[in-house]
Amino acid sequence: MPTKLSARFGTFVLSLFLIAFALPAFAGPFEDAVAKFANDDYSDTEEAIGVVASSGNKLAFPIISALQDGRLMADPDSKKVYVTGTDGKSIDAATGEAVASVPDSASAVRLNNRLRRSVDAALGGLTLQSPDLATRLQAAQSVFKSHEETLLEPVESALAKESNKAVKTALGEARAAILLFKSDATEVQKLEAVATIKARGDQDALALLSDLGSDQPASVAKAATSAIGSIQGSLAIWSSVQNAWYGLSLGSVLLLAAIGLAITFGVMGVINMAHGEMVMIGAYTTFVVQEVIRTRYPALFEYSLLIAVPLAFLVAGGIGVLIERSIIRFLYGRPLETLLATWGLSLVLQQAVRTMFGPTNREVGNPSWMSGAFELGQITITYNRLWILVFTLAVFLILLAMLRYTALGLEMRAVTQNRRMAASMGIATSRVDALTFGLGSGIAGIAGVALSQIDNVSPNLGQSYIIDSFMVVVFGGVGNLWGTLVGAFTLGIANKFLEPVAGAVLGKIAILVLIILFIQKRPRGLFALKGRAVEA
């Protein structure tokens, strides 16, 4: 936006200079048109806009842009029209000569919505050859939408001079749009235009083709109808792709929050209601890391998340081990009591964070590589969502490898499958329990670092994820990380596909109800552990 404004202002100042040295113009169609602005009549104003915009006069741009901003003053008595500059100096619109002051009887030329569209279209034509790339592109787009016949010539001359590929495409599409609606264009031209617009294939193209009247040749109408069909088809596919992407993104967040829970639940059969608070602690660790970096080592800000990840793992994991040693180990074999005790713990942790950091949201910044977005076809992908997906999959794979190839992983799997047998084989089950709980909590802490980038960091952060995480674990099945992965992505994608149909809240309710029904069918989740270990 600022570049566009400054470019426009630059053009404006430049034209003021040119005007100052221009020869006094003879009274002609341009001057007559300018005088019409003073008639205070909407149709006269519209006519004037058309003539002025297509006149090729250097004053055209300052006049039309002044009209848009309400700076075009007209004196109904003398029929004189003035352009008031943004710097307060005024010129005579017909001649371009500077005037000392605008008479008091002059008032701004009024616009209505229809006229505003004409003004936009006219400005689009006038800025088609602006030196600024973004301005040109925007101008071409606005011409495409307005498809004003008078702009055909400016568009074609701009097209001949244009060297940038993107702008050239946009100009070609703008030209096609104008030709399609031009009554005296040949059938061949129109068919070509339909093909060009079809290739564009977005919502605007669809809207343009749908606007096409019935007075077209049969072949053009037919081509347009089939183009509408194919654009609608491809748009539907793109919107599915978009939903799938949102679903993957939500799924990755769910997976990140649920992996730790799945581990502790799978190995120990313990429902940790304080799991969400571990996520919150991870997020607050990120906040503290960024605060320290901001005050002491501002240069490290880009790396703040990389520093926060291991720290969050250690802090949350340490607290996890502490909880296991001081509370949970006394409650083994009493899963319902564990549930209550960890709920109490979550209240204490929340209140502790509230006391230390205050009840309001704390700001966690995005490093530059986490912010921004890029376009892929018709969808927009934000970098933070993409990185979180990558990060989640990395965490998942590391965890999988850890369970598969390390001694602790082997012991954890053994305890999951048969605790008593594992103990008989010499595995120190209580040590495994403590480390498992620490690992699960540590991963929750890492999840907190990632979630701090897309959610508010407040003491209630964990609460909003805990029920969803449980649903993932219950849906996916216990004791199998792949179940958690499939569960998280299934729920994420199902949620995002239901949202446009049923709305966000109803979609979520539907998912909850579906899970409740699903549990009836498969009480142990999608990927249930087979064998005797399940029989509690």
Partner: protein, 392 residues
């Protein structure tokens, strides 16, 4: 005949509890109404409403204890049944406002006029009649519990899985009731009540009567629970709690027993909610919050699960503590205390206050000579119900 059976099965603790509740139910309203304001013995009206709230919570706690303490079903969504009962009563009270609302519409409650409803949604039909609302107070929670339990128990969803899906149920209802287009007042809920059965809800007399009614409901609920747990049915429930597979192999239809007691418990919770709403003056979706249901479970744990008296006592003690601590300088520390209560009770007092008291009595008796023990058995105080059954 039935009453005779009931009284016979009552041990001294239960009888004492019933007498205290009955005495409160009679004396507190009388003192509030008859004694002059400012007198030392006069109970102020706000206290009557507050204690009325506690009594409703005690009924909710009883309903939770019935399924958790005696059948091992830990529901983390019982607040949903409580709230549904409350909403049924709230809808009746809304319809009673009539033309006295801000918009003066004789049929539509204010929030519907505000949201541009042209006619009453079908869900509100019949709620202008008290008998219909009273029926719904029982039917809606009961039906939901029946459907939910039928699905869950038949497929043998037990333990923490059941707890989690009950929590999901109340969470789903919370989200639904927060929506304006769901037709139950959105996040503002139902409030600004005027009359109940023609009496002004704000009036001292009505409040006193509601308090007495709540006490009566608590007594009735207690007697129902008592007769359930001390019957043969109750013994099967306890068997299911202690060894579900074994009970099934012995030939009992475990799911039918569970379904019966779960539905009964939901109806009781609904009644508690219905009595709660006119005394508190508002019902909103916040009552569905999963946290509320879990808090209700901790009342039972504090009082002593598997002891009906304990559940009711726990609800009153914890809520009194909550009122006491959240109204003073200690307010920021209340959540610390509540959290610590959860942890300490599960770690140190797994049987709750009443359970610990009984255990202390038992050990004290064992230390005495056998002869003294025999005489002590006769004057045993509050007893754990399953112990009492063994003796009877």
């Amino acid at each position: 005949m039935t009453s005779h059976m009931l009284t016979r099965s009552l041990d001294r603790g239960a009888a004492m509890f019933l007498m205290v509740v009955a005495a409160c139910g009679i004396l507190i309203p009388l003192s509030n109404l008859l004694l002059p304001a400012g007198s030392v013995l006069q109970v102020p009206t706000y206290l009557v409403a507050l204690w009325g709230k506690y009594v409703c919570y005690a009924i909710l706690a009883l309903s939770i204890d019935l399924i958790w303490g005696y059948c091992g079903i830990l529901s983390l969504g019982h607040g949903a049944f409580f709230a549904l009962g409350g909403y049924a009563m709230g809808m009746y009270l809304m319809r009673q406002i009539g033309t006295r609302g801000v918009y003066g519409n004789p049929i539509l409650p204010d929030f519907m006029v505000f949201l541009n409803y042209s006619k009453l949604p079908w869900t509100w039909y019949g709620f202008d009649m008290f008998w219909f609302a009273a029926l719904m107070v029982l039917l809606v929670p009961g039906l939901l519990a029946f459907c939910f339990g039928w699905l869950a128990f038949r497929s043998r969803v037990t333990g923490v899985y059941l707890s989690i899906i009950t929590q999901a149920m109340t969470y789903a209802l919370l989200l639904a009731f927060f929506r304006n287009d769901f037709g139950f007042g959105g996040n503002n809920g139902l409030t600004d009540f005027k009359d109940i059965l023609g009496f002004n809800v704000q009036a001292e007399g009505t409040r006193a009567a509601l308090f007495a009614l709540s006490c009566l409901a608590l007594i009735v609920a207690f007697l129902i629970c008592r007769s359930v747990v001390s019957s043969k049915l109750g013994k099967v429930l306890i068997a299911i709690r202690d060894a579900e597979s074994r009970s099934r192999f012995l030939g009992y239809r475990v799911e039918s027993y569970k379904l019966f007691v779960f539905t009964l418990s939901a109806c009781m919770a609904g009644v508690a909610g219905a009595l709660y709403v006119p005394q508190v003056g508002i019902i909103n979706p916040g009552e569905f919050a999963p946290g509320n249901s879990i808090e209700a479970v901790i009342w039972v744990a504090v009082g002593g699960r598997g002891t009906l008296v304990g559940a009711a006592l726990g609800a009153i003690v914890v809520n009194y503590a909550k009122t006491f601590f959240t109204s003073g300088v200690l307010a920021p520390y209340w959540l610390f205390m509540l959290g610590a209560l959860f942890i300490l009770v599960t770690l140190l007092l797994p049987k709750g206050i009443v359970g610990a008291f009984n255990a202390w009595r038992e050990s004290a008796r064992e230390r005495r000579p056998a002869a003294a023990a025999a005489s002590a058995a006769a004057e045993d105080g509050i007893t754990e119900p399953d112990m009492a059954e063994e003796r009877s």
